[in-house]
Protein backbone atom coordinates (compact mmCIF):
# COMPACT_ATOMS: atom_id res chain seq x y z
CA UNK A 1 0.00 0.00 0.00
CA UNK A 2 1.29 3.42 -0.97
CA UNK A 3 2.31 5.51 1.96
CA UNK A 4 0.00 8.05 3.44
CA UNK A 5 1.89 11.11 2.34
CA UNK A 6 1.83 10.07 -1.31
CA UNK A 7 -1.89 9.56 -1.28
CA UNK A 8 -2.43 12.86 0.43
CA UNK A 9 -0.41 14.65 -2.22
CA UNK A 10 -2.34 12.99 -5.01
CA UNK A 11 -5.64 13.99 -3.47
CA UNK A 12 -4.37 17.54 -3.19
CA UNK A 13 -3.31 17.74 -6.84
CA UNK A 14 -6.52 16.14 -8.09
CA UNK A 15 -8.45 18.72 -6.11
CA UNK A 16 -6.50 21.48 -7.81
CA UNK A 17 -7.24 20.02 -11.23
CA UNK A 18 -10.88 19.78 -10.35
CA UNK A 19 -10.95 23.41 -9.37
CA UNK A 20 -9.48 24.41 -12.70
CA UNK A 21 -11.85 22.30 -14.74
CA UNK A 22 -14.80 23.60 -12.77
CA UNK A 23 -13.74 27.18 -13.40
CA UNK A 24 -13.23 26.51 -17.09
CA UNK A 25 -16.67 25.00 -17.28
CA UNK A 26 -18.24 28.09 -15.79
CA UNK A 27 -16.31 30.38 -18.10
CA UNK A 28 -17.36 28.33 -21.11
CA UNK A 29 -20.96 28.42 -19.99
CA UNK A 30 -20.88 32.22 -19.88
CA UNK A 31 -19.18 32.45 -23.25
CA UNK A 32 -21.61 29.98 -24.72
CA UNK A 33 -24.50 32.18 -23.72
CA UNK A 34 -22.89 35.13 -25.47
CA UNK A 35 -22.21 33.10 -28.59
CA UNK A 36 -25.79 31.90 -28.66
CA UNK A 37 -26.95 35.49 -28.41
CA UNK A 38 -24.83 36.32 -31.44
CA UNK A 39 -26.57 33.63 -33.42
CA UNK A 40 -30.04 34.83 -32.48
CA UNK A 41 -29.14 38.45 -33.19
CA UNK A 42 -28.00 37.59 -36.67
CA UNK A 43 -31.07 35.65 -37.66
CA UNK A 44 -33.42 38.49 -38.66
CA UNK A 45 -30.70 40.05 -40.81
CA UNK A 46 -29.98 36.76 -42.51
CA UNK A 47 -33.64 36.01 -43.16
CA UNK A 48 -34.39 39.40 -44.72
CA UNK A 49 -31.27 39.30 -46.86
CA UNK A 50 -31.99 35.84 -48.18
CA UNK A 51 -35.57 36.76 -48.95
CA UNK A 52 -34.63 39.83 -50.93
CA UNK A 53 -31.97 38.04 -52.97
CA UNK A 54 -34.41 35.28 -53.85
CA UNK A 55 -37.06 37.82 -54.77
CA UNK A 56 -34.80 39.90 -56.99
CA UNK A 57 -33.37 36.83 -58.67
CA UNK A 58 -36.85 35.52 -59.40
CA UNK A 59 -38.58 38.71 -60.49
CA UNK A 60 -35.76 40.43 -62.31
CA UNK A 61 -34.36 37.30 -63.90
CA UNK A 62 -30.82 38.36 -63.23
CA UNK A 63 -28.00 35.91 -63.05
CA UNK A 64 -24.55 36.42 -61.67
CA UNK A 65 -21.24 34.53 -61.85
CA UNK A 66 -21.44 33.96 -58.10
CA UNK A 67 -24.69 32.12 -58.63
CA UNK A 68 -23.91 29.99 -61.66
CA UNK A 69 -22.89 26.43 -61.07
CA UNK A 70 -19.89 25.18 -63.01
CA UNK A 71 -20.55 22.23 -65.27
CA UNK A 72 -17.64 20.12 -64.14
CA UNK A 73 -15.97 21.09 -60.96
CA UNK A 74 -12.23 20.61 -61.11
CA UNK A 75 -10.78 22.46 -58.21
CA UNK A 76 -12.19 22.80 -54.75
CA UNK A 77 -11.19 25.07 -51.92
CA UNK A 78 -11.95 23.61 -48.54
CA UNK A 79 -12.23 26.06 -45.68
CA UNK A 80 -11.52 24.27 -42.42
CA UNK A 81 -12.91 26.00 -39.38
CA UNK A 82 -11.44 24.99 -36.02
CA UNK A 83 -10.66 26.76 -32.78
CA UNK A 84 -7.43 28.27 -31.57
CA UNK A 85 -7.43 26.48 -28.27
CA UNK A 86 -7.81 22.89 -27.24
CA UNK A 87 -9.36 21.21 -24.22
CA UNK A 88 -12.70 20.92 -25.87
CA UNK A 89 -13.22 17.22 -26.40
CA UNK A 90 -13.63 16.00 -29.94
CA UNK A 91 -14.41 19.45 -31.31
CA UNK A 92 -11.26 19.94 -33.36
CA UNK A 93 -10.34 16.33 -34.03
CA UNK A 94 -13.76 15.65 -35.55
CA UNK A 95 -13.22 18.45 -38.04
CA UNK A 96 -9.68 17.37 -38.84
CA UNK A 97 -10.78 13.78 -39.33
CA UNK A 98 -13.52 14.89 -41.65
CA UNK A 99 -11.15 16.99 -43.74
CA UNK A 100 -8.67 14.10 -43.83
CA UNK A 101 -11.33 11.73 -45.09
CA UNK A 102 -12.47 14.31 -47.59
CA UNK A 103 -9.04 14.35 -49.23
CA UNK A 104 -8.88 10.57 -49.41
CA UNK A 105 -12.36 10.21 -50.83
CA UNK A 106 -12.12 12.98 -53.40
CA UNK A 107 -8.53 12.69 -54.49
CA UNK A 108 -9.61 11.22 -57.78
CA UNK A 109 -12.75 13.26 -58.33
CA UNK A 110 -11.15 16.70 -58.41
CA UNK A 111 -7.92 17.81 -59.93
CA UNK A 112 -7.06 20.07 -57.11
CA UNK A 113 -8.08 20.36 -53.48
CA UNK A 114 -6.64 23.23 -51.51
CA UNK A 115 -7.17 24.48 -48.01
CA UNK A 116 -7.76 27.62 -46.09
CA UNK A 117 -7.55 27.20 -42.35
CA UNK A 118 -9.36 29.31 -39.84
CA UNK A 119 -8.19 28.53 -36.33
CA UNK A 120 -4.85 27.28 -35.10
CA UNK A 121 -5.79 23.68 -34.36
CA UNK A 122 -6.64 22.78 -37.93
CA UNK A 123 -3.62 24.55 -39.38
CA UNK A 124 -1.25 22.81 -36.95
CA UNK A 125 -2.76 19.40 -37.53
CA UNK A 126 -2.31 19.59 -41.28
CA UNK A 127 1.08 21.17 -41.02
CA UNK A 128 2.23 18.03 -39.24
CA UNK A 129 0.97 16.06 -42.23
CA UNK A 130 2.86 18.41 -44.50
CA UNK A 131 -0.22 19.97 -45.96
CA UNK A 132 0.05 23.70 -46.02
CA UNK A 133 -3.08 25.67 -46.79
CA UNK A 134 -2.95 28.58 -49.18
CA UNK A 135 -3.82 30.76 -46.27
CA UNK A 136 -4.51 30.38 -42.60
CA UNK A 137 -6.16 32.71 -40.18
CA UNK A 138 -5.04 32.00 -36.66
CA UNK A 139 -4.99 34.01 -33.45
CA UNK A 140 -8.62 34.91 -33.81
CA UNK A 141 -9.91 37.58 -31.55
CA UNK A 142 -11.77 36.58 -28.46
CA UNK A 143 -15.06 37.49 -29.97
CA UNK A 144 -15.96 36.90 -33.55
CA UNK A 145 -16.90 40.19 -35.12
CA UNK A 146 -18.61 40.75 -38.41
CA UNK A 147 -15.65 42.83 -39.55
CA UNK A 148 -13.27 39.91 -39.09
CA UNK A 149 -15.57 37.52 -40.92
CA UNK A 150 -15.94 40.05 -43.69
CA UNK A 151 -12.21 40.39 -44.27
CA UNK A 152 -11.85 36.61 -44.49
CA UNK A 153 -14.86 36.35 -46.76
CA UNK A 154 -13.46 38.98 -49.11
CA UNK A 155 -10.27 36.99 -49.53
CA UNK A 156 -12.21 33.82 -50.24
CA UNK A 157 -14.41 35.51 -52.77
CA UNK A 158 -11.38 36.86 -54.61
CA UNK A 159 -10.10 33.29 -55.10
CA UNK A 160 -13.42 32.37 -56.58
CA UNK A 161 -13.77 35.34 -58.92
CA UNK A 162 -10.17 34.95 -60.09
CA UNK A 163 -11.17 31.49 -61.27
CA UNK A 164 -8.62 29.67 -59.14
CA UNK A 165 -11.35 27.49 -57.70
CA UNK A 166 -14.66 26.24 -59.03
CA UNK A 167 -16.19 25.65 -55.67
CA UNK A 168 -15.63 26.82 -52.14
CA UNK A 169 -16.72 24.56 -49.34
CA UNK A 170 -16.57 24.99 -45.65
CA UNK A 171 -16.26 22.38 -42.91
CA UNK A 172 -17.34 23.46 -39.47
CA UNK A 173 -19.15 22.39 -36.35
CA UNK A 174 -22.79 23.25 -36.47
CA UNK A 175 -24.29 24.18 -33.15
CA UNK A 176 -27.14 21.83 -32.30
CA UNK A 177 -27.30 22.29 -28.56
CA UNK A 178 -24.90 22.86 -25.70
CA UNK A 179 -24.10 19.17 -25.60
CA UNK A 180 -24.15 18.23 -29.26
CA UNK A 181 -22.34 19.54 -32.29
CA UNK A 182 -22.42 18.21 -35.79
CA UNK A 183 -19.70 18.43 -38.40
CA UNK A 184 -21.15 19.82 -41.58
CA UNK A 185 -19.70 20.54 -45.00
CA UNK A 186 -21.46 23.28 -46.93
CA UNK A 187 -20.94 24.67 -50.37
CA UNK A 188 -20.47 28.41 -49.93
CA UNK A 189 -19.84 29.37 -53.53
CA UNK A 190 -21.50 29.31 -55.96
CA UNK A 191 -24.47 30.48 -53.96
CA UNK A 192 -27.58 28.38 -54.11
CA UNK A 193 -30.69 30.48 -54.12
CA UNK A 194 -33.76 28.88 -52.73
CA UNK A 195 -37.09 29.54 -54.34
CA UNK A 196 -38.65 32.93 -53.87
CA UNK A 197 -42.10 33.30 -52.44
CA UNK A 198 -43.22 34.31 -55.92
CA UNK A 199 -44.22 31.66 -58.38
CA UNK A 200 -44.27 29.03 -55.69
CA UNK A 201 -47.38 30.77 -54.36
CA UNK A 202 -47.30 32.81 -51.20
CA UNK A 203 -46.79 30.46 -48.31
CA UNK A 204 -48.24 31.62 -44.99
CA UNK A 205 -45.35 33.48 -43.41
CA UNK A 206 -44.18 35.24 -46.53
CA UNK A 207 -47.62 36.33 -47.61
CA UNK A 208 -47.27 39.71 -45.93
CA UNK A 209 -43.98 40.37 -47.65
CA UNK A 210 -45.26 42.16 -50.69
CA UNK A 211 -42.58 42.43 -53.28
CA UNK A 212 -43.94 44.81 -55.84
CA UNK A 213 -43.18 44.06 -59.45
CA UNK A 214 -42.76 47.77 -60.11
CA UNK A 215 -40.00 48.14 -57.53
CA UNK A 216 -37.59 51.02 -58.09
CA UNK A 217 -34.00 49.89 -58.24
CA UNK A 218 -31.31 52.38 -57.54
CA UNK A 219 -28.69 51.39 -58.79
CA UNK A 220 -29.73 48.76 -61.35
CA UNK A 221 -30.81 45.27 -60.23
CA UNK A 222 -27.61 43.68 -61.57
CA UNK A 223 -25.47 45.94 -59.42
CA UNK A 224 -27.64 45.45 -56.39
CA UNK A 225 -27.67 41.70 -56.67
CA UNK A 226 -23.91 41.57 -56.89
CA UNK A 227 -23.70 43.65 -53.76
CA UNK A 228 -26.26 41.55 -51.96
CA UNK A 229 -24.65 38.28 -52.98
CA UNK A 230 -21.36 39.43 -51.58
CA UNK A 231 -23.03 40.51 -48.39
CA UNK A 232 -24.78 37.20 -48.19
CA UNK A 233 -21.48 35.42 -48.56
CA UNK A 234 -19.91 37.52 -45.82
CA UNK A 235 -22.85 36.67 -43.66
CA UNK A 236 -22.50 32.94 -44.37
CA UNK A 237 -18.91 33.06 -43.24
CA UNK A 238 -19.89 35.05 -40.18
CA UNK A 239 -22.68 32.62 -39.38
CA UNK A 240 -20.40 29.60 -39.70
CA UNK A 241 -17.88 31.27 -37.41
CA UNK A 242 -20.54 32.07 -34.84
CA UNK A 243 -21.83 28.52 -34.95
CA UNK A 244 -18.32 27.23 -34.58
CA UNK A 245 -17.59 29.43 -31.59
CA UNK A 246 -20.82 28.42 -29.90
CA UNK A 247 -20.00 24.77 -30.58
CA UNK A 248 -16.51 25.20 -29.22
CA UNK A 249 -17.76 26.55 -25.93
CA UNK A 250 -20.46 23.90 -25.78
CA UNK A 251 -17.91 21.17 -26.40
CA UNK A 252 -15.53 22.63 -23.85
CA UNK A 253 -18.29 22.87 -21.30
CA UNK A 254 -19.14 19.19 -21.72
CA UNK A 255 -15.50 18.16 -21.68
CA UNK A 256 -14.84 20.13 -18.52
CA UNK A 257 -17.99 18.79 -16.88
CA UNK A 258 -16.75 15.26 -17.58
CA UNK A 259 -13.31 15.90 -16.25
CA UNK A 260 -14.70 17.53 -13.10
CA UNK A 261 -16.75 14.39 -12.56
CA UNK A 262 -13.74 12.19 -13.18
CA UNK A 263 -11.74 14.20 -10.72
CA UNK A 264 -14.47 13.82 -8.16
CA UNK A 265 -14.54 10.04 -8.61
CA UNK A 266 -10.80 9.95 -8.36
CA UNK A 267 -10.82 11.94 -5.14
CA UNK A 268 -13.43 9.59 -3.65
CA UNK A 269 -11.35 6.57 -4.55
CA UNK A 270 -8.16 8.08 -3.20
CA UNK A 271 -9.85 9.15 0.03
CA UNK A 272 -11.05 5.60 0.53
CA UNK A 273 -7.55 4.28 -0.03
CA UNK A 274 -6.14 6.88 2.29
CA UNK A 275 -8.52 5.95 5.08
CA UNK A 276 -7.82 2.28 4.57
CA UNK A 277 -4.10 2.87 4.78
CA UNK A 278 -4.51 5.00 7.88
CA UNK A 279 -6.66 2.34 9.55
CA UNK A 280 -4.13 -0.32 8.73
CA UNK A 281 -1.35 1.74 10.16
CA UNK A 282 -3.26 2.26 13.40
CA UNK A 283 -4.06 -1.44 13.63
CA UNK A 284 -0.42 -2.34 13.15
CA UNK A 285 0.65 0.12 15.80
CA UNK A 286 -1.95 -1.22 18.23
CA UNK A 287 -0.83 -4.79 17.65
CA UNK A 288 2.74 -3.73 18.27
CA UNK A 289 1.86 -2.03 21.57
CA UNK A 290 -0.27 -4.95 22.73
CA UNK A 291 2.35 -7.54 21.87
CA UNK A 292 5.04 -5.36 23.48
CA UNK A 293 3.03 -5.14 26.70
CA UNK A 294 2.39 -8.87 26.52
CA UNK A 295 6.11 -9.69 26.33
CA UNK A 296 6.82 -7.61 29.46
CA UNK A 297 4.59 -9.74 31.59
Amino acid sequence: MANLKDIRLRIESTKNTQQITKAMKLVSAAKLRKAQNNITNMRPYAMTLKQVIADIAATQKVSHPLMTKKQNVKSVLLVVLTSDRGLCGGFNSNINKFADRYIVENKNTFEKIDFVFIGKRGADYFLRKNIKGIESFTKLEKEISYGLAKSIAEKLISYFTAGTFDEIRMVYNEFKSAISQKVVCETLLPVEIEGSSFGSGANGENAEHKFAADMIFDPAPEVIIEDLLKKNFNLQVYRAMCESVASEHGARMTAMENSSNNARDMINKLTLNYNKARQEKITTELTEIVSGAESLK
Binding site: K210, F211, D214, F217, D218, K231
Partner: protein, 132 residues
Protein backbone atom coordinates in the same frame (compact mmCIF):
# COMPACT_ATOMS: atom_id res chain seq x y z
CA UNK B 1 -44.88 52.74 -41.41
CA UNK B 2 -42.64 50.32 -39.58
CA UNK B 3 -38.86 50.54 -39.38
CA UNK B 4 -36.51 47.59 -39.06
CA UNK B 5 -32.87 48.48 -38.60
CA UNK B 6 -30.76 45.36 -38.50
CA UNK B 7 -27.07 44.57 -38.50
CA UNK B 8 -25.47 41.12 -38.45
CA UNK B 9 -24.54 41.67 -34.84
CA UNK B 10 -27.73 43.09 -33.46
CA UNK B 11 -31.34 43.94 -33.89
CA UNK B 12 -31.22 47.69 -33.32
CA UNK B 13 -34.73 48.75 -34.21
CA UNK B 14 -37.38 46.19 -34.85
CA UNK B 15 -40.98 46.66 -35.88
CA UNK B 16 -41.11 50.21 -34.60
CA UNK B 17 -43.77 52.58 -35.85
CA UNK B 18 -42.19 55.70 -37.33
CA UNK B 19 -43.40 58.74 -39.22
CA UNK B 20 -40.30 59.50 -41.25
CA UNK B 21 -36.82 58.17 -41.84
CA UNK B 22 -33.81 59.70 -43.57
CA UNK B 23 -31.25 57.25 -44.87
CA UNK B 24 -27.77 57.81 -46.33
CA UNK B 25 -27.91 56.05 -49.70
CA UNK B 26 -24.85 55.55 -51.87
CA UNK B 27 -25.70 58.70 -53.81
CA UNK B 28 -26.96 60.98 -51.05
CA UNK B 29 -29.57 61.35 -48.38
CA UNK B 30 -33.13 60.26 -48.94
CA UNK B 31 -36.13 60.83 -46.74
CA UNK B 32 -38.90 58.30 -46.77
CA UNK B 33 -42.39 59.20 -45.65
CA UNK B 34 -45.57 57.18 -45.47
CA UNK B 35 -46.73 55.89 -48.84
CA UNK B 36 -43.35 55.85 -50.55
CA UNK B 37 -43.25 53.63 -53.58
CA UNK B 38 -41.34 50.33 -53.27
CA UNK B 39 -37.61 50.76 -53.61
CA UNK B 40 -34.33 49.02 -53.15
CA UNK B 41 -31.12 50.93 -52.80
CA UNK B 42 -27.65 50.51 -51.41
CA UNK B 43 -26.30 52.49 -48.51
CA UNK B 44 -23.25 54.64 -48.14
CA UNK B 45 -21.86 55.84 -44.84
CA UNK B 46 -23.78 58.43 -42.88
CA UNK B 47 -26.46 59.16 -40.36
CA UNK B 48 -29.80 57.50 -40.28
CA UNK B 49 -32.43 59.75 -38.71
CA UNK B 50 -35.84 58.53 -37.79
CA UNK B 51 -38.82 59.86 -35.94
CA UNK B 52 -40.70 57.40 -33.78
CA UNK B 53 -44.46 57.94 -33.93
CA UNK B 54 -45.75 59.76 -30.86
CA UNK B 55 -42.29 60.84 -29.73
CA UNK B 56 -40.62 64.20 -30.10
CA UNK B 57 -37.29 64.67 -31.78
CA UNK B 58 -35.24 62.63 -34.17
CA UNK B 59 -33.20 59.62 -33.24
CA UNK B 60 -29.86 59.27 -34.92
CA UNK B 61 -27.27 56.59 -35.51
CA UNK B 62 -24.25 56.07 -37.70
CA UNK B 63 -24.68 53.34 -40.29
CA UNK B 64 -22.37 52.20 -43.01
CA UNK B 65 -22.79 50.00 -46.05
CA UNK B 66 -25.71 47.75 -46.55
CA UNK B 67 -28.98 48.19 -48.27
CA UNK B 68 -32.39 49.58 -47.70
CA UNK B 69 -35.66 48.17 -48.88
CA UNK B 70 -38.92 50.05 -48.87
CA UNK B 71 -41.98 47.86 -49.11
CA UNK B 72 -45.56 48.92 -48.51
CA UNK B 73 -45.89 49.62 -44.80
CA UNK B 74 -42.28 49.00 -43.85
CA UNK B 75 -38.72 50.17 -44.30
CA UNK B 76 -36.03 47.53 -43.85
CA UNK B 77 -32.52 48.85 -43.37
CA UNK B 78 -29.80 46.21 -43.30
CA UNK B 79 -26.52 47.86 -42.40
CA UNK B 80 -23.15 46.24 -42.01
CA UNK B 81 -22.01 48.58 -39.32
CA UNK B 82 -23.84 50.67 -36.82
CA UNK B 83 -22.93 52.91 -33.93
CA UNK B 84 -25.08 55.02 -31.68
CA UNK B 85 -24.01 58.26 -30.04
CA UNK B 86 -23.07 56.48 -26.80
CA UNK B 87 -20.77 54.09 -28.60
CA UNK B 88 -18.61 56.66 -30.35
CA UNK B 89 -15.30 57.10 -28.56
CA UNK B 90 -13.54 60.31 -29.57
CA UNK B 91 -10.01 58.99 -29.10
CA UNK B 92 -10.68 55.80 -31.01
CA UNK B 93 -12.31 57.67 -33.90
CA UNK B 94 -9.41 60.13 -34.20
CA UNK B 95 -6.93 57.27 -34.10
CA UNK B 96 -8.87 55.50 -36.83
CA UNK B 97 -8.70 58.57 -39.04
CA UNK B 98 -4.97 59.05 -38.60
CA UNK B 99 -4.23 55.36 -39.17
CA UNK B 100 -6.33 55.32 -42.30
CA UNK B 101 -4.64 58.45 -43.62
CA UNK B 102 -1.24 56.87 -43.12
CA UNK B 103 -2.43 53.84 -45.00
CA UNK B 104 -3.61 55.99 -47.89
CA UNK B 105 -0.26 57.74 -48.03
CA UNK B 106 1.47 54.46 -48.80
CA UNK B 107 -0.29 54.27 -52.15
CA UNK B 108 0.12 50.57 -52.71
CA UNK B 109 -3.42 49.60 -51.82
CA UNK B 110 -5.69 47.40 -53.87
CA UNK B 111 -9.05 48.76 -54.93
CA UNK B 112 -10.84 46.97 -52.12
CA UNK B 113 -8.36 48.13 -49.52
CA UNK B 114 -8.62 51.67 -50.78
CA UNK B 115 -12.39 51.59 -50.57
CA UNK B 116 -12.29 50.09 -47.08
CA UNK B 117 -9.83 52.69 -45.86
CA UNK B 118 -11.85 55.57 -47.23
CA UNK B 119 -14.88 54.09 -45.56
CA UNK B 120 -13.01 53.87 -42.24
CA UNK B 121 -12.31 57.58 -42.41
CA UNK B 122 -15.90 58.37 -43.26
CA UNK B 123 -17.20 56.20 -40.47
CA UNK B 124 -14.98 57.91 -37.92
CA UNK B 125 -15.88 61.39 -39.20
CA UNK B 126 -19.60 60.75 -39.15
CA UNK B 127 -19.19 59.24 -35.70
CA UNK B 128 -17.59 62.45 -34.46
CA UNK B 129 -20.30 64.44 -36.16
CA UNK B 130 -22.85 62.42 -34.20
CA UNK B 131 -21.39 63.73 -30.97
CA UNK B 132 -21.92 67.39 -31.86
Amino acid sequence: MKLNLLTPERKAVFDTEITSVTIPTYSGEMTILEGHSPLITTLGTGLIKYKIAGEDGMKQALISWGYCEVVPGAVNVLAEFMQTKDEVVVGAAEKQISEAEQKLAKQNLTDDEFENTINDIQKARVGLQLLN
